[in-house]
Structure formats: structure tokens, C-alpha cells
Amino acid sequence: MYWQPDIETLPAKSLQELQLQRLCEVVARVAATVPLYQRKLAEAGVRTDDIRSLADVHRLPFTTNADLRENYPAGLLALPRNEVARLHTSSGTTGKPKALFFSRRDVDQAAELIARCLVMTGCSHGDVLQNMMTYGLFTGALVMHYGAEKAGLMVIPAGPGNSERQLMLMQDFRTTVFHTTPSYALYLADFMEKAGVDARRDLALRKAFIGAEAHSEETRRKIEGAFGIDAYNSYGLSETNGPGVAFECEQKHGMHLWEDNFLLEIIDPATGEPVPDGERGELVLTTLNREAMPLLRNRSRDLTAVIPEPCPCGRTHRRLTRITGRADDMLVVRGVNLYPQQIERVLMGVPELGRNYLIHLRGLDEMTVKVELAPASFDGRAENLLRLEGRVAEKLRAEILVKPRVELAAPGTLPVSEGKARRVIDERVL
């Protein structure tokens, strides 16, 4: 099932021709309208007509988070103000947010991309989507909302939190699909278990779209198992669209990135140089089909790799692997680079452990991983718990090359955030 079969299955060569044509248009447009890009292009010594092939994209300047912040509120706007239909922001950890503008056509185009994604997972007219992302300045909820309506679904704009109400809506309106973060999906699964609700028996759920936080394959399986559904990985980036940038098809093996809308590069985050196909690096996107705020080579800080093989679903747009970390999330412990997601992957693969964990860095590079015990695995024997701690520490060492101290915690005692879970506490004195 395709939403736009011609585009989704466009042969690679035609896709590349379309990309080149759009890339030239974008460069010409930002060179004519955005002072930041006028300056950056001049500094890089690139003229509009220097872009003759897709390989020439490497000559273009990057756009960084700092560029977006420094040009807040409207420095990157490529249209007159009165042509803007919607404002979103993307919050940073410090200071001003990034302002993100959508023209009427951008709003519609973002919805088209979402419609492609939803149909790609087998959703159609008649499905009921419970959208549990935050409505408001964040792109996550509204972009999904418009796209789901376009694809013919009924949308329940539930927003996040209030698990009792979420459950009530699911029961009363026979929700078939929900859209949320991995941490809230796990939280909701716990909540339902405690409320005595068996999702398979009592609810009509079939699918979930899981986005806004990087998560592991094991977390996906836990979500699928808890609700008896298929969970699809959704990759979004507020700066370039919100959700709908890349999404899994029914194969659930990598996320198709819509290459007619985004020019994709994977670079080494340290050097900025491209990495070979299939190798992990930072995702860099140039928007090819956005009017209000086109971006050249936007540094996502998200780490992923291209899956070069064609997908059995027939779509020609290349797939990305699960995001395995953010270039910003990288921790350096005892000289070793590691990502919280690597730790999560190990923990989720141990059946005796629960869903919540915390990485605590203290003193001079002391690393403690606190993780909840799964209630069913407690057999009353203290020595088995000690052995489990040792086994988990050893598994972690094999994955991240640093042996942390592992501490078991009682189920339900580690913090579960209903939004983005905070998993790392760094209190090192370095």
C-alpha cells in the first residue's frame, strides 16, 4: 500500500535527478533571500551555479544549532512574514528556542509525508489514532495530526500524560493506533498492568508510532509485547519537518527517509567528512521541498547509518538504521566514548531486569548503572541478585568497554518521566 506510489517507488536515477533539480533551486533561493546563507556561501566560495551534481553538496556550508539560535527569531525566514502559516519552536537545553516557520504549502507537504508514513505501516481510512504527543509549539503532535487526517484516519488529540484518561479514550473510542514516546509507552504499559487491563483482550489497539526519543530494538519488543501490537519507529526533526522525515514500513527494518524531500548525508561528526555507506555517523539533511525555512546541510546531531540494500516493500527511498545516539549525548567515561542507548540495549536484553534505569556518573569517572529488577525474577535469594548484578556488569563491559557498578533497584522506584526520560545524571568533577 502506497500513498503516493509514483514518488515512493521512483527509480533511483530519477530520484537523484529530482534531488539535483530541487537542490539547485534551494541554493538559489536561500542565496537570494537569507542573509546568513549569503554570508556562509560567500565564505565557502560557492556560487549558485557551482552546484552541478549531487556530489557538489559537500561544498555547501553546514547549518548548526548555533546558527538557528543566533538567528532567532526570524533570521532564517526565506519568505515574507505574511506568507507564514504556522510557527513551531524547538526547545534547547539553554537559552532561546529555535524558531521554525511553515508556509501553507509546508504545512500541507508535511502532512503528505506523514500520510505516506502511515499508509506505509498499513494504516488506512477507518483507523483511529490517539495522538499522545504534546500539542503546542512542539512539532510532534500537530504535524502528525494533520497528516493522519489527510490519510483518512480519525484523530483523537489526547496529548500526553493523564494515563487514566488515555485508557478511557482507548476503551470508549476503540483506538487502533497511538503515537507517543517510548518512555511513555512503557509507562502506560505499566499503568495498564496495574489497572488490570489486558490490552490484547480489552482494547482494539493494532499499532503504535514511537518517536521523539531514540530507543532500542528491545524497547520496541517490550512495547509490542505489552500491548500486543506492531510498533513502528518514527524519526522526526523539528528543524526539517517534525515527524515524517523517516519512518518504518511494514518490514520494520530501518526507516525510509523521503529522499525527494530531503537530501541525505552521513558524516563523521568530528571531521565533517562523509562516511562510507553503511557506516555510522551524524545525519545531515538539506531540505529540498520547504518554502518558509529551507535549510542547507542541517546538522541533526543524531547518529545513524544508511541501509544500502533495497527494501522488499518496493520503496526506493533509502532506509536509516535506528538512531543509536545523539552526537551531543555521547559520554566519555575513562576515555571511552559511549552512548546511553548502548547501555539501554544491554539492559533491555536481560529478562530479569525491568524497564527503568539510570546512569549515574560521579567523582572521577565512576559510573553506576541503577536498574530495576523485574518483579517476576525475584526468588528471595540475595546471592542470586548479587550474581545478576555481576552478570549485567560483565555484559555492559563487553558492549561499552567500561565496567560500571551495577545496582539493582526495587521495581517502580526509579523515576519514569511521562515525557522525555532523563536517564543520565552526570555529577563528575572533572
Partner: protein, 142 residues
């Protein structure tokens, strides 16, 4: 004869843990006959011998505690030097490792609570040597 069960509770190493558990047991009107704590520094396992073990298990579980029932052997030994040694060497001679052991003397009766992995075999060995094993009812009615 109903085998002896202890109720084991997972406890993090926080000062109020024992107080929290025992408050729940009091609320459930469960009487504690014996308590032992395996302290592993970062966490501990508190084990209870209770008059209403199954009720306490359900109660604590519903109140968010991580609990488990552990079957143990309660052997009665003579209250004199060397009697515990006899039990311990019997088990070790037969290759049965003891995970946990605790004992008490009550009204001149010495009771040893044994946690072993091979429960059935340990039971046979002790009974064969005429070491009496108490049922849960007998132990609770001491």
C-alpha cells in the same frame, strides 16, 4: 504436612525499609514469628516466618513490594554443642550446598532453618538420620 515457607522481600538499602514492610504486615494483621535480613550493602533481602504467609504475600505485592516465597527446611536439633555441626556435615558430605542458614532456641527446642537448592534430597537425607523436620503448622505453634 505443609512445608515451611519464608516470605522474602527485596529491600533497598534505605533506613526506613524494615519499618515500611513491618508496618504493612501490622496493617494486614500478620504476626511475625521470625525475621532474618541478608544484608548485601546496596540492597538486602528480608525474610520472615509469618503466621499468614500467603495473605502477607498478596498484601505486600499489592502494596508495591517485590516479594517471593521461599521454601525452607526447619530441622529440630538437640540443644547441645555439636548438633548444628552434625546437620551441616551431613549436607556437605552429600554435596548439598547451603544457601542460607539460621537458627534459634525457643523453650529449650533448637530449630535450624535451612535454605538449600536441592530441597527434596536434603529432606530425605536428614529424615534418614532421624533428624526431625517440622511442618509449617508445627513451627508456628512453637
Amino acid at each position: 504436612m505443609k512445608p515451611v515457607h519464608l516470605l522474602a522481600v527485596f529491600a533497598e538499602n534505605k533506613p526506613d525499609q524494615l519499618a515500611r514492610v513491618t508496618k504493612e504486615l501490622a496493617d494486614a494483621s500478620v504476626n511475625i514469628h521470625w525475621v532474618g535480613i541478608a544484608d548485601m550493602q546496596r540492597f538486602g533481602v528480608i525474610r520472615f516466618l509469618l503466621d499468614k504467609c500467603d495473605l502477607a504475600y498478596q498484601w505486600l505485592k499489592q502494596h508495591g513490594f517485590t516479594v517471593s516465597l521461599v521454601e525452607v527446611l526447619a530441622a529440630e536439633v538437640e540443644d547441645r554443642p555439636g548438633s548444628l555441626h552434625r546437620v551441616a556435615s551431613l549436607l556437605s558430605e552429600n554435596g548439598i550446598s547451603l544457601n542460607n542458614c539460621s537458627g534459634f532456641v525457643f523453650k529449650n527446642r533448637a530449630i535450624v532453618i535451612l535454605e538449600v537448592t536441592e530441597l527434596a534430597r536434603a529432606r530425605q537425607i536428614l529424615l534418614a538420620q532421624d533428624i526431625p523436620l517440622l511442618s509449617e503448622e508445627e513451627l508456628l505453634s512453637l
